[in-house]
Amino acid sequence: MLSELLQGIETGGLLIIQDSCSYSGRDLLRSFIAAALNREEEVHVLCFDVSEDELTDGLKPPATQRLHVHNAYPDPLGWTDHPAFAVQQFRLEDLTDLVKQASQPKPATLVIDSLSWVLRHAAPPAVCRTLQQLRKGGAVRAVVALLHADMHQRGTVGSVCHLASSLVAVAPGPKGNEAVAKITKRSKSGKVAQDEETFCITEDLTVAVLSRPSSLPEAKPNGSEEEQADPTANLTFNLRLSESELEAKQKLTLPFVFSKEKKTALLHPGPGSGRILYEPDANDDYDQEDPDDDLDV
């Protein structure tokens, strides 16, 4: 599922990469940027956590023409007079202007590194509202954000991840440079798909999915029917039928089997639920006005 997400996020989607101090999700974020650039998309990056050089390290020149970095790292809170981008500008109007200024007709992908910075300096409900409006508005096609889960209260992390259409939680893997990603994808109709994969990121920012852990839950209703005990097994006599015996059994006519027409006639009797079939016999000819009915004339 990680490779599907790397190939593209649906329009109006919000992908959140949730990491902690034991494993940084920034490399995965950069591979998402690289994948989007390789798909000929415009990418706008809001850079808070690390410097621009560190973030774009490893991205090749022909692709970086479509990359627009709004560097908030030197002055994120706007203390100098001319900040490149400040936290206070994380609002729908300012972000839409920023993205449209690049003057490309296609909607862009917005990458936020990291959302934790914004959440420390702006109210979480306002940040959630801005993210929701960004998804609905037309300027930005999809949003990818990095969130440090151990920096915030559980409620804050929960509220932001509740909005996400896809969530990737990364943790250190068994070996040195490997990591485990728990992916949750929510669709509009309420279906939820979950997966857990081990991956590692190579030098040129491609993600190699290594293995799938075996503990995948398969909650399919069809599977439960097969697990029921087969009563014809482990018996001292044979209860099973061979193919020819099965055919012979089905060809056998049962004593009260009716033809198809009679069955339908009996099953769908019409408006009344019971029909009384009556043939008038001789006693019914009794005429009240003619008392001489019993005369045998």
Partner: protein, 397 residues
């Protein structure tokens, strides 16, 4: 199929329900066609019935098992709080059932959301399964080509009972008060547009301004609801002249961060009183009008349990859903038949001293195609059914 012959024979006076395909479950049926003559002066509103316990006017929630748990249905003038499951799949489903039931009973609807457009929810309403006696289905001849299990529609031996429904094992009320819905299909546009629907989408009503200290979202919602109730004549104070109707109010995901409050964001939220004040006002509004509300709340995000307790007290009925998706219970073989657990947090006592709590406390739910079934969760022990029976037999010896 043939093991329920005795029960089916005793219910032979039931109307025949013809369906297009062979469903796994069938509808429960009336045991008789006897209709009680009522002499009450209550205005009879379609889709409602008086409660057998305390005489309150009840409407169906759209889920028959849930009606049974709540004492027959949802009383008019009360609020049902649904604590959402983690990914808001089943609580959204119950909200859709509630609104679909309103469309089928020709009630009016009021839908309020902060996240999606209300039209998104309205377009996803499940299609009702309508009884149609006048459409007989031709009987299929049982196939002779080596199929070991006949389809349910073509019974070879008990073919007279083909069209009669199976006995339900889920909880259900005895009378046909609610309707059934097919989740795999959406309601047709003609049926949906026949129902009058009022929408409230938060981004349209409240322009967010960063300098606002007080929350305007809940007061805007309450004002809009009050205006609709007054304008459309659902007030109880209005003269009882023409035919009355019920207003079904569906409020999706109240308390989430998109409504502007930080109940879900912080452990000690600043806006603790915004939602509780709103619920108090909502209940007052509902008690004085012919309306009923279903509110869903992402309670798994609220960290303050005392706040959650006061929110539960402010609503009349409260249930909580816990879905197995994503938790370690999903692979537990004990839970393989179900999609999640359901907890009844509160049942109201309206005009009476004691409330009717459900018999079973451990309930589990499963969303099937034609039914959302809530069953008492049968705990089979560590070894499952067979072993438990064998062990109990050995003990008897």
């Amino acid at each position: 199929m043939c093991n329920n012959i005795d029960v089916i024979i005793s219910n032979m006076a039931a109307p025949v329900s013809g369906m297009g395909e062979a469903p796994a479950e069938r509808l429960p049926i009336n045991s008789t066609s006897f209709q009680k003559k009522t002499r009450s002066k209550l205005v009879s509103i379609p889709g409602t019935r008086p409660s057998v316990q305390n005489g309150q006017l009840l409407v169906s929630t759209g889920v028959t098992s849930l009606d049974y748990l709540l004492g027959g249905g949802l009383a008019v003038g009360t609020v049902l709080l649904i604590e959402e499951d983690r990914y808001d799949s089943y609580s959204r489903m119950i909200l859709k059932y509630f609104l679909a039931e309103g469309v089928v009973c020709r009630h009016e609807l009021f839908v309020a959301t902060a996240q999606d457009n209300p039209d998104d929810i309205l377009q996803e309403l499940p299609a009702p399964i309508l009884d149609d006696v006048a459409v007989p289905k031709a009987v299929e001849q049982p196939r002779l080509t080596g199929e070991p299990q006949d389809s349910l529609d073509a019974m070879k031996i008990a073919w007279r009972y083909q069209h009669l429904p199976k006995v339900q094992s889920a909880l259900a009320s005895s009378s046909r008060f609610g309707h059934y819905y097919d989740v795999s299909k959406t309601m047709e546009a003609e049926i949906r547009q026949a129902a009058k629907c009022h929408r409230f989408c938060l981004p349209d009503h409240v322009t967010p301004s960063s300098t606002a200290h007080r929350l305007e979202s809940y007061s805007a919602l309450l004002k809009s609801l009050q205006e609709v109730i007054h304008r459309e004549g659902f007030d109880l104070a209005a003269p009882m002249s023409k035919s009355r109707n019920i207003l079904r109010v569906g409020l999706h995901s109240l308390g989430s961060a998109l409504w502007g409050d930080d109940l879900c964001c912080h452990d000690k939220p600043r806006h603790r009183h915004a939602l509780t004040t709103f619920l108090y006002g909502l209940r007052a509004l509902l008690r004085s009008s012919l309306s009923v509300a279903v509110v869903t709340l992402p309670s798994h995000l609220i960290q303050d349990r005392a706040l959650m307790g006061s929110i539960t007290r402010l609503c009349d009925n409260a249930i909580a859903l816990e879905s197995f998706k994503g938790s370690e219970r999903e692979t537990n073989p004990l839970y393989k038949d179900y999609h999640g657990l359901l907890y009844v947090r509160q049942v109201p006592h309206l005009n009476c001293l004691a409330s009717q709590l459900p018999d079973h406390k451990d309930l589990a739910f499963k969303l099937k195609r034609k039914q959302f079934s809530i069953e008492p969760y049968k705990y089979l022990g560590a070894f499952g059914c067979e072993e438990a029976r064998r062990r109990s037999k050995r003990k008897q010896l």
